[in-house]
Amino acid sequence: MSECLRDRTFLLMFEGEGASTDQAHLEACEACADRYRRLVHDIEVIGQVLREEPPRQALYRNSRSLNIRWIPAVVALAFLIVSVWGVMRVQRTTSPVPSEETRNESAELVLDEVSTAIFSVSGDTTEIPYSDSDFSYLDTALGEEGAL
């Protein structure tokens, strides 16, 4: 006897397809015939159930499963918001806030420097300010070059 038929073959046979060999097997094999009868019966039962009004429990489930699916996302979002808020709060408490006086002093200093630079009385605006330390570096460099 050839191998027993697959469920897909039964379904195709139910839809009017299927090779003649499959048909012959179905007639010869009691196990396959029994499986085929069960398939036909199941389809009839399912069709009958769907012709009826839906049972109330069948309509309850959706909202619950939907809620369960949303819970991890909501928890993750809440955790993210709390974390960001916490980090911002910690940063704010650790960095010292300058007092009103300090801020005024630093503002005055900046303004002094800016006004000196802009309204220089020397008249030579291209002059680059320098310090003694610049010359010492230059001397050292030239000395090394001369030695070479």
Partner: protein, 171 residues
Amino acid sequence: MPGKRPSYEELYKSHHPKVARLCRLLLSDPHEAEDVGQEVVLKMFHQYQTGDWPTAWGPWLTRVTINACRDRRRSGWWKHWRASKEEFQEADHASHARTPEEEALSQEGRVRIWRSFKKLSSRQQEVFVLRHVEGWSTEEVAETLGLTAGSVKSHLCRAVRHLRKALGGRS
């Protein structure tokens, strides 16, 4: 159309239960199913008034109902989400007398079948309903849904396999 033309009341009586059932199967919310059912009935009324009658009202109404359900599913996904959270009203689903065959299947089994059916894709639901609930031929289903017969069979195979699992692990 040959023979006596049916009155609108006759048409309504013979087709409204099928339209209502189709809407209930293809839409998850019973209130929405009722709304769409009314829309379809209204379309049937307008079509009746124009005098431009289809050759057969059954297939015409099925096509109109399926399209209306599709439109509703597309346009109101958020409404489905909201509706799924609403409390179920038992009065809307009064039980009716069952045949011995129906009684044989437990309430739990019926719930499993319905839940399983609702998990199918929209296309699989449409194909299964037309073929095994309404009892159309594969060719008629294919023509109405604009599919090939092969595609209908393929959808049916998947749907049946999935639904049979709800009947106790058979696939």
